[in-house]
């Protein structure tokens, strides 16, 4: 019955983990569910020899902890890949361990299938196959992410190779477990299965570009869930079946969602050859840039008490004035203080911002000229820069040789957080780079100003 609690924790955990506001507690629930599952299992196995268990848990726990504390923020995806590989490997090892303990070491009569039962035998094969392929695939993914393995090497007739590997692996496994009565032969065949499975993972991931790795890892993650479920079948452990299956299914959906977000199809990703290297960047002028989507921005805005909106030519070009006003209204309705800071030369004609904001009937009281508002940025939680560039470019102050040197600018950097809405990292009228975009507390919201703002407004209301 306790197992049901564990399942409930898994279900609620995953659900919360998929919503921004609850993600962290969701992760906690998942961890609690796992702890509960372990405890239940220990209770069930009863009074046994804890030597291996304790040392296994201790060693594994410390290693996991160590890997994480040593990781740099930029390495997260690689680490996820690695952990994922470990999970797959664990499933395969569990299956192998079962095989050895029940078949090889017992050395009873008959085939393994007869010893273990057909279902267990079949799922044992699945477990080894999926687990081992997950391991090797994950290792490949990590190497690609690190850039150790680069490019998208084409494997000739890859589909055929894959098929051959799968078929031969499955055949070896089946013969080993269903036909062979000799444990030695059987274990040899199982090792064959293992090798084939490892190769499957390599062939699967090798030709896929580094930029597509997140999708691949997500897919492999779904696989390792399934491997766990297969182990569950082999061990007749329902908790394992359920948890493994849920995460397998959820992982598949997540993979699909990630593909859609990248505007790719899963097949497309798996065929490979796309994606280049993970560290590719179009905008070589710029260092690391942080970008986000409207939902994340909305979350930050909700927590803000004061917001200043800085419109520029891009607002007018996108004719996003109504959308900007909608965002302001939504924030005001939430009790946020909202002001617009108008730079004297924003836009392309004197008073351009006034003209377009008047079209959207932004009340004059909300508009503040530069000299009036510049010292307030330091006490402002969030600045939203909408299609402005030159007028918020610190180069005017910091780089005496800049073409805009000496022009007074809106000092948006002073604010706690800066969102910049524009379509790309392209420069503005003056044609120069803007270091504001690289600041640690600047987050780019890429896209047409009207679209981004519409999105933001609907998130906020």
């Amino acid at each position: 019955m306790l197992a049901l609690g564990s399942i409930a924790l898994f279900v609620f955990g995953l659900k919360r983990l998929s919503r921004v506001r609850t993600a962290r507690t969701g992760n906690g629930l998942l961890a609690a569910g796992m702890l509960l599952a372990v405890v239940i299992t220990l209770l069930e196995v009863g009074r046994v020899d804890y030597r291996w268990i304790v040392s296994g848990l201790a060693i594994g726990g410390s290693i996991g902890w160590l890997i994480v504390v040593r990781a740099k923020a930029t390495q997260m995806p690689e680490i996820v890949a690695r952990f994922n590989g470990f999970g797959g490997a664990a499933s395969a090892l569990v299956a192998l361990s079962l095989f050895w303990s029940e078949v090889v070491e017992r050395a009873g009569d008959g085939t393994a299938a007869e010893t273990l039962g057909a279902t267990a035998a079949a799922t044992l094969i699945a477990s080894v196959l999926i687990g081992a392929a997950t391991l090797s695939g994950s290792i490949m993914a990590e190497l690609k992410l690190r850039g150790t393995v680069e490019g998208t090497p084409r494997i000739p007739v890859r589909a055929v190779v894959m098929l051959v590997l799968l078929v031969s692996g499955a055949a070896a496994g089946s013969i080993g477990l269903f036909a062979s009565e000799d444990p030695a032969t059987a274990s040899l065949l199982v090792v064959g299965l293992l090798v084939a499975s490892v190769l499957v993972g390599v062939v699967l991931v090798l030709p896929i570009g580094g930029a597509d790795m997140p999708v691949v890892i997500s897919l492999l993650n779904s696989f390792s869930g399934l491997a766990a479920a297969a182990t569950g079948f082999a061990l007749s452990n329902h908790l394992l079946i359920i948890a493994g299956t849920i995460v397998g299914a959820a992982g598949l959906i997540l993979t699909q969602i990630m593909c859609v977000a990248m505007n790719r199809s899963l097949l497309n990703v798996l065929i490979g050859g796309f994606g280049g290297s993970a560290s590719d960047s179009d905008q070589s002028d710029y260092g690391p840039i942080m970008s986000a989507d409207a939902e994340s921005a909305a979350m930050v805005l909700e927590a803000a008490q004061s917001v200043i909106i800085v419109p520029g030519y891009g607002l007018a070009a996108a004719r996003a004035q109504n959308a900007a006003h909608d965002v302001a209204r939504a924030l005001i309705a939430r009790g946020v203080t909202v002001r617009f800071a108008i730079h004297p030369v924003a836009g392309r004609m004197p008073g351009h911002m006034n003209v377009v904001l008047a079209e959207a009937e932004v009340p004059y009281e909300l508009l503040h000229e530069m000299s009036e508002i510049n010292q307030d940025f330091a006490h402002t939680d969030v600045v939203i820069v909408i299609g402005a560039n030159d007028v918020v470019n610190p180069a005017a102050r910091d780089e005496p040789d800049s073409p805009i040197a000496g022009m007074p600018i809106l000092d948006v950097e002073q604010a706690r957080r800066v969102f910049v809405i524009k379509r790309s990292l392209s420069p503005g009228y003056a044609g120069i780079k803007n270091a504001l975009f690289e600041r640690e507390h600047t987050v780019m919201l890429f896209g047409d100003a009207k679209e981004v703002l519409d999105d933001l407004a609907s998130q906020l209301s």
């Binding site: 998929s18 890997i67 569990v94 452990n237």
Partner: protein
């Protein structure tokens, strides 16, 4: 109805549940969710637990202990790394 069949029922229901559970994930959560799910897939740890309950170091026990270690790394590391990713968000908890 045999127990295997019931297990299949359980499997199918769990799969449906897994599919329904996740609807629309904001892009910023793709990686953390993947990472959390990944940690959860280390649930195989409980399989490993059931296999290493004897004292004698046989091949199977060694394999099982290997599985246990790897699965624990996956679980512990996975949840920690997810939490680390999420700690940057700073939203209301």
């Amino acid at each position: 109805m045999g127990p295997a069949l019931v297990s299949v029922y359980v499997f199918v229901l769990a799969a449906f549940l897994g599919f329904e559970l996740i609807n629309k994930v904001p892009p910023m959560l793709h990686t953390p969710l993947m990472s959390g799910a990944n940690a959860m897939s280390g649930v195989t740890v409980i399989g490993a637990l059931t296999l290493v309950i004897v004292a004698a170091p046989s091949t199977s026990v060694l394999l099982g202990t290997g599985a246990l270690i790897l699965a624990t790394i996956n679980v512990v590391g996975g949840f920690l790394v997810t939490d680390k990713m999420l700690s940057n968000f700073g939203g209301r908890k």
